[in-house]
Amino acid sequence: MTALSDTWALTVRDLLRLWRQPWFIAIVLVQPVIWLLLFGELFQRVVDIPGFEGGDYKQYLVPGVLVMTAFFSSGWNGMTTIEDLERGVTDRLLVTPTRRWPLIVGRLGQNAVQALIQSLVIIAMALAIGVSFDGGPLGVVALVLAAILLGTAFAALSNALALVARQEESLIGAVTFLQLPLTFLSTAFMQEALIPGWVATVADYNPVNWAIVAGREAVQSNPDWGTVAGYCGLLAVFALVCTMLATRAFRAYQAQV
């Protein structure tokens, strides 16, 4: 109970910090809209490729952009941890009686709220440009859930790396190294039937793709809920493992202070 309450207090702290950076908020909200509109325009003729199912690329694109947005912004979650390390805040928190995991999960809570708000902006924008979510409200919830689970996993990894590397440069390097390959080794922009076989194989093991497949399945008419639940379960396990890893990373950090 205490640990949960600590987690929430730490989530609120991170949200307050975010709230006090209006420029950051603006970027966080505007960027996904730009992705959606830009990619929607840029690739609109993709639907003309023989073998592409469905007539509207924007309709296809929305789940991909929504998942990509959560994935991208979550990668930077560890930057706050590096800032805390540099400012001595981490050391202060580590000598309070709170458990180690709320220090990580509190931050993941902030990340989840951020991903949720970004998702809502994208969904609103998608509705505005005529995209329909045929799976109904439950489908939309499942899509957002998949994105948040994926974001949670990568935010946890970002924090683990932050605690081990303790340098902004290392984190920036790792995040930029992973972001685009993992995004493009997926069905975010192109249907599985049209991507090279090896990419499809890699995509099967790519958590980013798990979230996209689950989300896309959930928002189409007559979703196969088994597929959605299967991938969401996989993502939940992945997120849990990453969170445990990040909590363990405090030991690595404390061995060196």
């Binding site: 600590d6 307050l16 928190l93």
Partner: protein, 320 residues
Amino acid sequence: MIEASALKKDYGEVRALDGITFAVEPGTIFGLLGPNGAGKSTTVKVLTTLARPDSGEARVAEHDVLREPAEVRRSIGVVAQRSGVDRDLTGRENVKLQGHLQGMRGRELDRRVDELLEQFGLAEAGHRVARTYSGGMQRRLDVAIGLVHRPQVLFLDEPTTGLDPEVRAAMWQEIGRLKADEGLTILLTTHYMEEADNLASHVAIVDRGTIVAEGSPAELKASLHGDAVHVELEGANVNGNVEAALRGVPGLGEVLVEGRALHARVEDGARAVPAVLAALDAHSVPVATVTVGRPSLDDVYLRYAGRSFAEADKTKEEDE
């Protein structure tokens, strides 16, 4: 209240703690005094459960730091050398979050936060984000954060480093008051001799990871009999010229020359100074200033660490 016994810790090749042992009585201020890099902060990190020693044991507020870290954490307040203030939160939010993590809730917490902000002169500034605070205000906020849960033991790691002299004096007053009014046991680390002299009833001098001398400031100074003479030379010591000059001076104890500074202990300062000056003059060593006085903690350090405090501090900074 604090017992450290044979604490050792290496960071890779560097030996940070080389068998530190000391005990702190309840309700007293204990000063760990030493230059940068002597091992003071590492000692604090071990005693506050942040770092683990390679060997040795420690108990704080009757709890073992290795076996009962949670109990230790509930009993201690920590003001680390680096401020731990979250600069994006207000002063009030900072104190409140800390209180929450220490298990305080609701009205009890609110009242305590008000009380501390008032006590540390931050009542007005409490609603502003800490980024806008001066160095002194941030330091006071650090102390308020450390005290929120009414700890039995307070660790102050270099609490006044980098503060203006007036702010430092105010902080000293506050620290003295905490001991007197609230009966706190305080472990203070400092590399300011006068800070330890002013605040601590018991001082341990730390050098290269061990305690080289320990006692009340008065005892430590009394352990050096005679007077201390400090001479600042016009130029650097060339070819041991200075040592040669002083060899024949009667009543001269230990002599140490570091760059342009000459430190010596003498039986009787008033009698020794003319002789020292005459000897230096005879060897054509020009003198800029001479001071003579009762030994200070500086001289105690010089005696036990074999080098002057300023010099040890400087070497360390160059290392880093």
